[in-house]
Assembly symmetry: C2
Homo-oligomer: 63 residues x 2
């Protein structure tokens, strides 16, 4: 699931939700909802998140 992949990559990169929200310029509670799969993010937002996590957007997509 996309949210779980984002959470795993965030933790892998050593970000807390707060630190990641700050780095991505995204609201912390929104990050929580994304990671719990409660929000259907846009492809553009996927690219923004991947840029901060320094990974390929495709690598976050569930296979």
């Amino acid at each position: 699931m996309l949210g779980r992949n984002i959470r795993e990559k965030r933790r892998e990169k050593g970000y807390s939700q707060d630190a990641f929200a700050l780095a991505a310029g995204i609201d912390r509670s929104y990050i929580g909802r994304v990671e719990r799969g409660e929000v259907n993010i846009t492809v553009e937002k996927l690219y923004e998140i991947a840029a901060v996590l320094q990974c390929e957007p495709a690598s976050l997509l569930p296979t």
Copy 2:
């Protein structure tokens, strides 16, 4: 660009915009806007489009 990749894959698979809109249960004018990059689709919509085009969602993402 994502829209161009979707258009190329659609044509590769032999779909007109009308036929693809019908198959995907999506409005034809919306498909046109997606392909022209005028709409920021959700990751969920990317999966729906990829399913109809029988390709991996990641394969449509611009690299």
